[in-house]
């Protein structure tokens, strides 16, 4: 309750939340909002300047730039949010396990984390692209493989701090089992801090996936994904820099929305902790 009020009173958090809501709405209602079909080519109208019909002009194949940007939100959020949701759940599960389980299991989980953390996502993405073929599954697998260990480590760290406090001991004395301790006491207590990590995690996942798309990994040619659009706009770098400006700006804005909210929440939590 207290936390909700503090979030409502923080302008930074509210700006972040509003931007997130706006982006989600754009992604959901892309087909209503977009003035044109994002893949419809009009060779006669390539590199059109902005006008009433094409509010942001057209690209090198005469496709409506605005429509492509609007549909791009579907790819970034439609992949970024579920991926982070999976990572978040996996992190909670294995993180709690690796903090509360017997020493042997703890060691194994930590060892696996240490091994997986060492792989940079982009090398994994390249390797998986080479091995299972270029496509969205390869990039998603790469992000999951490269990131899960970070989430587990984070949760483990939070849980260890909580276990050092008095209430886990008190609930133990009151006869609370491990599962109940984790589900009813530990998870609710670490959730706010974890939300900070998840929010900034969405930002970095969105940047990462567009980065892969920019490198030509993940999406078939012509997909209206922001990173892929940037890649296609490279040819007209000096003549039409605005075609590079828009999609990159969209990626930055999306990342900004989640980072603004995450950082604001972090500040609120730290202030509460300090006082």
């Amino acid at each position: 309750m207290m936390l909700r009020e503090k979030i409502l009173r923080s302008p930074q958090a509210m700006i972040g939340l509003a931007l997130i809501a706006l982006l989600v709405l754009i992604a959901l209602f892309a087909d209503v909002l977009a003035p044109h079909d994002p893949t419809e080519q009009n060779i006669l109208a390539k590199y059109r300047a902005p006008d009433a019909e094409y509010p942001l002009g057209t690209d090198q194949l005469g496709r409506c730039e605005l429509s492509r940007l609007i549909y791009g939100a579907r790819y970034s959020l439609g992949i970024g949010l579920p991926v982070v949701a999976v990572l978040g759940l996996l992190g909670l599960l294995l993180g709690c396990l690796s903090a509360c389980a017997p020493k042997g299991i703890q060691w194994v989980v930590q060892y696996l984390c240490n091994v997986f953390v060492a792989f940079p996502a982009v090398v994994l993405a390249a390797a998986l692209t080479g091995v299972i073929g270029n496509g969205i599954p390869a990039t998603i697998c790469a992000v999951l493989l490269a990131m899960w260990a970070w989430f587990v480590r984070m949760v483990r760290g939070y849980v260890l701090v909580e276990l050092g406090r008095d209430y886990p001991l008190a609930s133990r004395i009151a006869g609370c089992g491990t599962m109940r301790l984790i589900l009813r006491h530990l998870i609710p207590n670490i959730l706010p801090q974890y939300l900070v990590y998840l929010s900034t995690g969405v930002a970095s996942t969105v940047i990462m996936i567009s980065g892969f798309a920019f490198l030509g990994m993940g999406f078939p040619a012509g997909t209206p994904e922001w990173g892929a659009m940037l890649n296609e706009a490279r040819r007209g770098l000096y003549a039409h820099p605005e075609l590079l400006l828009y999609p990159g700006g969209c990626v930055a804005l999306t990342a900004c929305a989640f980072n603004l909210f995450g950082e604001a929440l972090r500040d609120i939590l730290e202030r509460t902790e300090g006082s």
Binding site: F119, L230, G248, L253
Partner: protein, 312 residues
């Protein structure tokens, strides 16, 4: 100290073993026959040619034998044969690594040289104008996709302010812009964490005591707080080795540099399993080694801290 060092080194070896196993397993997933791929390019696909190539490349025998053969080859510096370039992977890596290393090294310099003063001054006067500006710049900096800021710099310096040459040049001068684009997001998070860590120390009891003894805020910050604030920052810097790696690949593509990134992409699109496995192992090994290094630096900086900072 010596015993901990040995134990840590042993654990590192164990991690590297896991890394190599995982890379080898990934390589096996492809289901393509590398001998056939090479035969198609060079000697022809007759049965005896294929058999000879398989023998040469160690593709006969059980999975375990293959792994051991690959691993021993790897330890001797023989990373296999690249389908993508048609040369030995080791030779390829030697020719592309200098650019990538220079790029990452310069990015580290940018991070340290620009980020450190920003963090120090922001922590010296928290809540003041400079601090607020740095805070906003940090949030924005973390959000900048490297592949986008690279182009912004390129267009800016090529069209608006033709001060720095943007054409790929040999030497470090040509790497100034790319390394800056690479450094920005990491610099932002470095500054944020360093500032927060400094402030946490400044609120600690020993700093309050030093203040009551008449030391100025500046003296406390530079003499006492900095050192104690370092461990989380060192840990973070070592983690950037992995993070900058992702950025390098993107930045190399933006600025058309011939480094590890372009090699990696070429190998990915050519399904070059041998080269990809070598890149995986190398990248992970470098990362693991730097992290261990970070732990030792932290131990030396603050021996009084128990577990070498926040690495857990």
């Amino acid at each position: 100290m010596a015993r901990t060092a040995l134990r840590k080194a042993g654990y590192l070896l164990l991690i590297l073993l896991g890394v190599s196993l995982l890379s080898f397993a990934l390589l096996q997933l492809s289901g393509r026959d590398p001998a056939l791929a090479i035969a198609l390019r060079s000697q022809g696909t007759s049965e005896e040619n294929l058999a000879r190539l398989r023998e040469e490349m160690g593709l006969n025998g059980t999975m375990l034998e293959q792994y051991l053969k690959w691993l021993t080859g790897f330890l001797r510096g023989d990373f296999g044969y690249s389908i993508y370039s048609g040369r030995a992977v080791a030779a390829d890596l030697l020719s592309v690594l200098p650019v990538t290393c220079a790029l990452m090294g310069l990015a580290f310099l940018w991070i340290l040289l620009l980020g450190t003063p920003m963090a120090l001054y922001a922590a010296y006067r928290p809540g003041k104008l400079f601090d607020q500006v740095v805070r906003i710049l940090n949030v924005l900096g973390i959000c900048l996709p490297t592949f986008w800021s690279g182009y912004l710099l390129l267009v800016l310096f090529a069209v608006k302010i033709p001060l720095i040459s943007v054409a790929p040049k040999p030497g470090l001068a040509g790497l100034l812009l790319p390394s800056f684009a690479l450094a920005v997001p990491s610099m932002a998070s470095y500054t944020r964490v360093f500032r927060a860590s400094l402030l946490k120390q400044m609120h600690a009891e020993y700093c309050l005591i030093a203040r009551t003894r008449g030391l100025s805020r500046k003296e406390i910050l530079l003499r006492h707080a900095v050192r104690n604030a370092m461990p989380p920052v060192v840990t973070l810097l070592m983690q950037y080795v992995g993070y900058l790696f992702i950025g390098t690949v993107l930045v190399e593509s933006v600025f058309s540099l011939n480094g590890l990134g372009s090699y990696l992409l070429g190998c990915a699109l050519a399904s070059d399993a041998a080269a990809l496995a070598a890149c995986l192992v190398l990248a992970a090994a470098v990362y693991a080694v730097f992290n261990l290094l970070g732990e030792f630096i932290n131990r030396m900086l603050c021996p009084w801290m128990e577990k070498g900072g926040v690495l857990q």
